[in-house]
Amino acid sequence: MERIRLVHGNGGKFSHELVDQYIVKYFSNPILNELHDGAVFPVTTGRMAMSTDSYVVTPHIFPGGNIGKLAVCGTVNDLAMMGAVPQYLSCGLILEEGLPISTLETVLQTMSDMAQLSGVSIVTGDTKVVEKGSVDGIYINTAGVGIVPDYVQLGTSYIESGMKVIISGTLGDHAIAVMGTRYGLDLPDTIQTDCAPLHKMAHKLLETFGKDIAFFRDPTRGGLATTLQEIANSAQKGIRLQESAIPIREEVQAVCQVLGYDPLYLANEGKMIAIVRADVADEVVQVMRTFTEGRDAVIIGDVVNGNAGKVGLQTAVGGIRLLDMLGEDQVPRIC
């Protein structure tokens, strides 16, 4: 068997073969191995968080990762940003007829590795195969649940003037790594996706600082600017950023200049924004920096009085640029 065929999705012998030989091989655990239509698992008292996301990135494989890495880390991170400890994931695969099995195996292997790294089990799933041309190779949906500890109190309503805005690392790496592959650009090896699970760092912060942390969010689609704009809107507070403090790799900046992209609007897959009380901000940064995924953490701005719903970027020359939400996708310049 070298390629996925339509019969692999018909629910019969071929489907079983696909599940047994490949999916169970990579995801095996006692709950999944029941191979029922759903999963039964024990729960504890308290609050649970749930999240779902679909992954349609093209190309499927790019520097530093693939669609499977995104599918696990993305949902794990969505749970982590709610303050939850991620526990169980589901995995829905939509495969295009003709997809090389080797590609599927690469993706499944990565999902398995990432699930292990994130301490989650993939406990149920579904696989469909559609005619060639109906999807682009492979689409993945994951949903996840996790437990929210009692000491967690996160939400835009807890954001107050004077709080500090922290970013866990450099911006734009993921988007440029994917775009570079898509357009066949010859980019330096240092440009790789930042895709990584953030729950360990998020949890260490919540354990250490409790309610001094008001809000977490990962700046994925729309980038830092759009995410902060949403936060400012929802909290009805102003946010002032310092341009000179925002970490962007020189090589990412260079590619952005050539292609006409603004790194503040580019997607990240392994970064988090934390909004915290000013008196613990420096300590929060120190704790983040003890993690690989937080090694470039830095304070980039603060929550200010007035200017409700606005995000102002203090530029190096001393002006203020108001950051809007991402409108249309950024397109390369023509002059």
């Binding site: 000179s244 606005k310 020359v317 108001l322 390369p332 310049r333 002059c335």
Partner: protein, 372 residues
């Protein structure tokens, strides 16, 4: 971004701002036009407009190629797109520019074969991919883009490709500036000249601004500091009443420009009268392919029948915006019927269009101001 550089940048910017305050007479209002759309965006991105003393106003000019592309050109593109045997190759921005009967996005949705490309050279691949089709590249742009497209035409010629054509509407910056100044009601006190265009043409083609119009002008880069330095230069020329073509972008712009690119342009093109959206036809303000290159001229090889071109979208003030007569937010459609998501006029289409920049970054749109 390199933090040391940004710290240094802050210091230099502070001293330039001090100099601007020294040079500016608070009794008077001066209006400097940034000709280029990239400058318009840079000025907003750096927050420069708000930093300047009250009496110094920056107005946006005609230097966004998408904005000045006229209705007739878009109608020609739409007519070609409707042909079964044609593949239109174009930069993405062009798809949203309005023509009389719609735009190219609508054509694409209705089945027209339109390929969005990132480099004109991609037409060579398209020619090989679709040997039975006629590939038509929409060649717009100022001096910066013209040389690149000229090089593409030469490459197509060298390869002997017979199915690649160019619908050319190239615009020249200096004749446009002359046209703006020949309007007796103009309100321009100086020009921030476009950096990229000047890389190609150098300083000399702007000399008439000083000689004939006693108009301060300065070629500027696109960094906040370079823009502030150019404003200092304009104020100095104004104060001392000595006029010349300033250049605060010397690391990139040579006095005589890029002679290779100039020769290439001269080999392929000759000056022509050209239509500017909202302004009309300006004498010798564009370029057309010379007769010996007409094998690649879409209008010569694939003639279009006659059709009527409308005056442009109703109520749209792009013409006045391009000429610096009004700020974009003075247009009654701005931000209401006309937004970057749903553009009515061409200036709202490109990210470097005046209206789009004013909308995206504009302090004046719906009270978008930052209070300290």
């Amino acid at each position: 971004m390199n933090k040391i550089t940004l710290t240094e940048k802050s210091k230099v910017a502070a001293s330039l701002l001090e100099r601007i305050h020294e040079l500016h007479n608070p009794e008077e209002t001066v209006r400097f036009m940034e000709v280029c759309g990239t400058h318009t965006v840079a000025i907003f991105r750096e927050g420069i407009r708000q930093m300047l003393p009250k009496g110094i106003e920056l107005i946006s000019g005609p230097g966004c190629p998408v904005c000045v592309t006229d209705q007739q050109y878009m109608d020609q593109a739409l007519a070609y797109a409707a042909r079964e045997d044609v593949v239109i190759a174009t930069f993405g921005d062009m798809l949203k520019i309005p023509g009389t009967t719609g735009n190219l996005w609508q054509s694409k949705e209705n089945g027209a074969h339109i390929e969005i490309i990132y480099s004109p050279m991609e037409v060579i691949g398209l020619s090989e991919q679709y040997p039975d089709k006629k590939i038509i590249f929409l060649g717009i742009g100022f001096e910066t883009t013209i040389a690149v497209i000229a090089a593409t035409i030469q490459a197509v010629h060298a390869k002997g490709l017979k199915n690649v054509f160019f619908l050319i509407s190239h615009k020249l910056v200096p004749p446009a500036l002359r046209a703006l100044l020949s309007n007796p009601e103009h309100q321009i006190d100086g020009f921030l000249l476009p950096g990229h265009v000047s890389v190609i043409i150098g300083e000399q083609p702007y000399q008439f601004l000083a000689d004939e119009y006693h108009m301060p002008s300065c070629i500027a880069g696109f960094d906040g500091v370079e823009i502030l330095a150019a404003i200092v230069n304009l104020l100095e020329q104004r104060k001392e009443q000595t006029f010349y073509v300033g250049n605060t972008y010397r690391s990139v712009v040579a006095k005589t420009g890029n002679s290779v690119a100039q020769q290439l342009m001269d080999t392929l093109y000759e000056p022509s009268d050209d239509g500017w959206r909202g302004i009309g036809v300006l004498p010798a303000s564009g370029l057309k392919l010379r007769g010996e290159w007409s094998a690649y001229d879409a209008l010569v090889q694939l003639p279009l029948g006659t059709f009527t071109t409308s005056d442009g979208p109703k109520g749209c003030q792009c013409g006045s915006v391009i000429q610096g007569m009004i700020h974009p937010d003075a247009c009654p459609l701005f931000g209401k019927l006309c937004t970057p998501e749903h553009p009515v006029g061409a200036c709202m289409v490109s990210v470097e269009g005046s209206c789009s920049a004013w909308y995206k970054y504009g302090f004046s749109s719906g009270g978008m101001t930052w209070e300290e």
